[in-house]
């Protein structure tokens, strides 16, 4: 009798467990689908809301026109596009080499307390909200660029402008790229180092030929994440770029980027027809470019992973 009871108890217990198992798989599928749906919803909204302006003006015309004057029904994105390219290229050109060297130093050369101290400061820097960098940029970098850097290279600058934004953005993304690159280097097995040093390579030869390749895909991803952050940066450019709508003639000029175009004009110019639609189109463009970039990056990363596998 006792055993029968236990058995039926056991079987009802099993039923409950199996039911829970089925339910949990539904629930998890649901959660996954929700993410996909959200994604679709965002794209759909952006596409649908940007249609009005595309119906009036051709996309090519807007992308190549330098004239942004919603009141006159002129929607030229070129200045913002040029500004975005400028800022992204300059920030990455300044930040990437420093990030790479710092990462190599921390991962391969720094030891003991120095290493702990430096890497915790880097992590601390990476955690500071961008708006604080924007404030410090206003107080420190703006006068530096306006009074010293620009005159030193024979340019004129009011302090606000593309170079200023690029400097501050480089400072923001560098710690971020350093952290991720250090992780990639430190994840490499010691056998790689031993194998290379064991045939008489120096430390630097080991780093250059072996470790940077082996960690290459990870470092590449770190740089790309940095790129994505600069490309989509909004608050720092909005504070420091000096908002003007013409195509910048020099990097010391004020300008705008695609995100600053959206934040600066979204509230103010809503009453003018098609402005909202044009700005949503800008958002869609940002999204598509970031996707294309990520997609290309994935292909490159795959190639690197095969070529430099260890």
């Amino acid at each position: 009798m006792g055993t029968t009871e236990t058995r039926s108890e056991n079987s009802s217990r099993l039923d409950r467990r199996l039911l829970l198992e089925r339910l949990s798989s539904y629930w998890l599928v649901g959660a996954g689908l929700f993410a996909v749906a959200l994604f679709g919803l965002i794209v759909l909204t952006l596409v649908q809301r940007s249609l009005p302006v595309v119906a009036e003006h051709s996309l090519l015309e807007m992308v190549t026109s330098a004239n942004w004057d919603p009141a006159a029904d002129e929607f030229g994105f070129l200045p913002a596009i040029v500004g975005t390219i400028y800022v992204t290229a300059l920030s990455m050109a300044m930040g990437t080499p420093i990030a790479l060297l710092a990462a190599i130093y921390i991962a391969e050369y720094a030891e003991g307390r120095t290493k702990v101290l430096i890497s915790s400061f880097i992590d601390l820097l990476a955690a500071i909200p961008s708006v604080i960098f924007g404030l410090v940029g206003l107080i420190v970098v703006v006068p530096f660029v306006g009074d010293y850097l620009a005159p030193a290279v024979g340019a004129h600058s009011i302090g606000l402008g593309i170079v200023t934004v690029s400097l501050v953005m480089a400072i923001i993304v560098t710690p971020f790229m350093i952290s991720l690159s250090v992780e990639s280097l430190e994840a490499l097995p010691d056998e790689l180092r031993e194998s290379s040093l064991g045939v008489g390579a120096t430390k630097w030869e080991t780093i250059r030929t072996v470790l940077l390749r082996a960690a290459g895909p990870g470092i590449f991803s770190a740089i790309l994440l940095g790129f994505g952050r600069v490309f989509g940066a909004t608050i720092v450019p909005a504070m420091l770029i000096g908002g003007q709508t013409a195509i910048p003639e020099s990097p010391f000029d004020a300008g705008q980027t695609l995100p600053t175009l959206i934040v600066n004009d979204f509230g103010e110019l809503m009453s003018i027809p098609l402005t909202q639609s044009a700005l949503i189109l800008v958002g869609l463009m940002l999204l598509v470019i970031v996707w294309l970039f990520n997609f290309g990056a994935m292909l490159v990363r795959r190639r690197l992973q095969r070529r430099w596998q260890y």
Binding site: P189, E191, L192, E194, L197, V199, Q309, Y310
Partner: protein, 277 residues
């Protein structure tokens, strides 16, 4: 020390500092003979790998390793010396336990060290790559795919690639850290065959967990226990007639088949196999 000593340690002491200092080697003096294969055996954590790596100062990549004593390569001290460290490591090659392909092509995995140390023409390099791949019996398997990534080979092939890479810089001594332990039996056998052929030309020091492998391959055996050298002798007397109780226990516990294939009385007792631990 005899005239045919290739490399020897003198009262070598290695400590890993930390919250609790760990003495990995405690005053080890041992000589490795030229053109012989010496196996280092002992229980896990007894300092086998540390001894091996201290022979070309590779343990120094652990920042907390401290060393006392000296290692002599021929007559030359390798710690108290003006000779640059990379040159010492070229002369004493190292093959790690995990088969490790560098993130380079098969060709460049072999040519890696040679390219660093010498100015070779492409033809000379081609020649060198072929010569050393043949030496480790890998040439026929890879000659049509030299530009493929080294890591795409099987683990057994990679281990032979590592041997070729180490040999290509013409070391005097070759250090092998349990080079077959990560391999399947067939690959392990191929690597053993390669080592068997190499020991005629090179001084090889090999850490191994396998008594049987030591018996098959080694000319000499040294036994470490808790960082101390317990016994060092030629392979036959080591297994047939060990001088120390600890060696006897260890060998008995780790040997599947008795050395002269006679059933051993002691092996039948109920004693746990690794009583010495």
């Amino acid at each position: 020390m005899t005239d045919d000593t290739a490399i020897r340690t003198d009262d070598l002491e290695v400590t890993y500092t930390g919250n609790r200092d760990v003495t990995a080697l405690d005053g080890v003096s041992v000589a490795f003979d030229e053109n012989k294969l010496t196996a280092i055996i002992g229980p896990s954590g007894c300092g086998k790998s540390t001894l091996l790596k201290s022979l070309n100062r590779l343990h120094e990549i652990q920042p907390n390793a401290e060393i006392d004593g000296e290692v002599y390569l021929g007559d030359e001290a390798i710690y108290d010396t003006d000779e640059p460290l990379p040159e010492i490591r070229r002369r004493v090659g190292y093959v790690p336990q995990t088969p490790t392909a560098l993130p380079l092509s098969i060709y460049n995995n072999v040519a890696y060290g040679a390219k660093i140390h010498g100015d070779y023409s492409r033809a000379e390099l081609d020649d060198l790559v072929e010569r050393y791949l043949r030496k480790v019996n890998l040439w026929d398997e890879v000659k049509d795919r030299l530009e493929d990534p080294g890591a795409e080979l099987s683990t057994g092939q990679i281990q032979r690639l590592c041997l070729a890479r180490s040999l290509a810089v013409e070391p005097e001594v070759l250090l092998c850290d349990e080079v077959t332990s990560a391999l399947d039996p067939i690959s392990a056998e191929q690597v053993e065959e390669t080592l068997e052929n190499l020991k005629e030309e090179y001084t090889i020091v090999m850490v191994t967990h396998s008594m049987d492998q030591a018996k098959r391959l080694a000319d000499d055996v040294i036994f470490l226990y808790l960082g101390e050298l317990v016994e060092a002798s030629d392979t036959r007397s080591f297994f047939e007639n060990p001088q120390h109780e600890r060696t006897r226990e260890f060998v008995k516990g780790h040997t599947a088949v008795d050395y002269d294939d006679e059933p051993s009385e002691e092996a039948a007792t109920d004693e746990p196999p690794v009583a010495s631990r």
